[in-house]
Symmetry: C2
Subunit: 383 residues, 2 copies
Amino acid sequence: MQLAQSLQAIKPSYIREILSVANSADVISLAGGLPDGDHFPLALMEQSIQRLSSRAELFQYGSTAGYGPLLDYFRECYQLPKEQDALVCTGSQQGLDLIARVFLDAGDKVVMEAPSYLGALQVFGLAQASIESIQQRADGPDLQELEQCFANKTIKMFYAVPDFHNPTGVCWSLEVRQKVAQLCQQYNVALIEDAPYRELRFSGTELPLVSSFCPEHSIVLRSYSKIATPGIRLGLVSGPKAWVSALERVKQGADLHSSQPMQAVLLDLLQHDDFPNHLNNLRELYRKRCQYLANQLIEKLPNNCQFEQVEGGMFIWLQLPDCDVDSLAKQMLNVGVAVVPSSVFYQSTAGKQSAFRLNFTNACDSDLALAVERLAQVLEAVK
Amino acid sequence: MQLAQSLQAIKPSYIREILSVANSADVISLAGGLPDGDHFPLALMEQSIQRLSSRAELFQYGSTAGYGPLLDYFRECYQLPKEQDALVCTGSQQGLDLIARVFLDAGDKVVMEAPSYLGALQVFGLAQASIESIQQRADGPDLQELEQCFANKTIKMFYAVPDFHNPTGVCWSLEVRQKVAQLCQQYNVALIEDAPYRELRFSGTELPLVSSFCPEHSIVLRSYSKIATPGIRLGLVSGPKAWVSALERVKQGADLHSSQPMQAVLLDLLQHDDFPNHLNNLRELYRKRCQYLANQLIEKLPNNCQFEQVEGGMFIWLQLPDCDVDSLAKQMLNVGVAVVPSSVFYQSTAGKQSAFRLNFTNACDSDLALAVERLAQVLEAVK
């Protein structure tokens, strides 16, 4: 059977391919975006899980929008105004996919920072959208470039990860947030604010969501993979009622609803007295690992490899001297370290930086040290 | 933000709208396709659920294809040949949605029996496919009409529910199965065999899957909503490797993977020593309810209301004298009984039968009796 035309634009995710290799015992993986499995809040989830088998109603068909008490909690927790609604998704990845399906026709223009989240590139590719790339600076997108793009082209949406961007770790400044919101309003561009790492800030001051400055032009995607656990596959989309209602209609055809027992367990976890404490511990763990990796990189790598310190999230973006990053990543695999080369995070070849995305949340200090040692060796040999 | 063009073809599911009303305590619902929540195999799932919180690996990101041991079990259980693969889905509904996304371009022709499963109509509508309706007989699709359609038009796929069809309960005869398989091969049409009710046979003899006669031209969709529980949202797609691999690529963008803790619980349930016993009890329960409803209908309804006896599944298709079924269904709601009018199961107005789909799996005998009494009253008043 012939594939649909749209499918010819989508490539399998290099990360997920690399992950399958990275799983072998003798490879240290800094490739994935995996939270540390040894620090999942399973102790806090245990009682809730134990009670599941006595709660038959959770195992029946549920409503597409999500488990009622969980939606109530989200509405309160995120202080959603009356004009907004929320939809529980099978991971925030599903939220993103639904947004693309509901709002994009082939050829519609979507703005993204470059580099950008691979999963978003895939989803917009499948929707046959036309991607407009805006260069990313240390404090967010290049505003001049963004405004020119908004002014000169008919842009449908701007997809952004303002808190601890994947892959770069960049966190937008307050000024950039306000300006982007103003531009979205002025040019009637919908902001898709993807916030999976927002709760993983381990230094600096929390900044408002960009969407808080233009709520009527925004959809927010939240993930519970980083603060709860990824395996339960739960995320949230919120935004103006009419938009969320359209997303819900497509979700109905896509999977009817997300796992209800998992939604009930997530609610209990988020409401658990010790959950704030768990989050603090997690941030502290990731802060230490990030710092440790940063120190190792400074100590062991040549000066022409550089990176910006990050205040949260899961990644350090290691900028390399101009080189063939794909081949370098393969050499790294040969010496037992998996990293993601920058090439996969760009839509086009223009403006590509040579870099590796290094994950610091799922490796212990000794593995981080060993990985950087091997990285130094490979870079030495390349010179 | 303007909706995508494809979305303008999709209507919200009348069933799910009716279900929200049907949930009120004073309405007896024969509308949904709900299994009986009082007979979920939760006792058989309990131990597995209890163990979850000690199995951290299940809560990490997993592979898109599904939880490895569950896939191994399915491969063995369904005796998949080497040329075939399987993909765990977030309900078989997701499998159907993925099939539409992966294989259909706008305008591609999909054959369905009329009436047909509403969720499939929705999904194919969203894919902007062109639906070709074939009349359904007591033993399956009208073969002459089907062959003419295959011969005269370029058909991409034939979507079918050969075991206890939704909404009619029709089960295809062996002869029809063989002939349809032969036609699919002859005209190079992919058969999408949706088998959610297959295990719910409570009388007669099990017949081979249609796809067993043309495996290289078929995709099979299986659901665990009826034999396990719907709330966990798990289904399976299997078929030729190249096709399943394409489905997996799109699933990666759609939700990365399905809930892993739920997959592990499903595996334990399916392998539980008492699971065959649970299935037998469930079939016996549904057989009795079906028989009870049938008897009530024969006893209380006028002779111009007719139905065929069914050998399994969840529905009786009550054929009514020609009338406005939507308005009649609303009258039924007013007297406290929710049913689904036949109109929603047809793509076009041509050949529409006046009928109600009556679910017998989620109401006790006294409710079934009361529902039929009220139905008789409403029908009496209409005359």
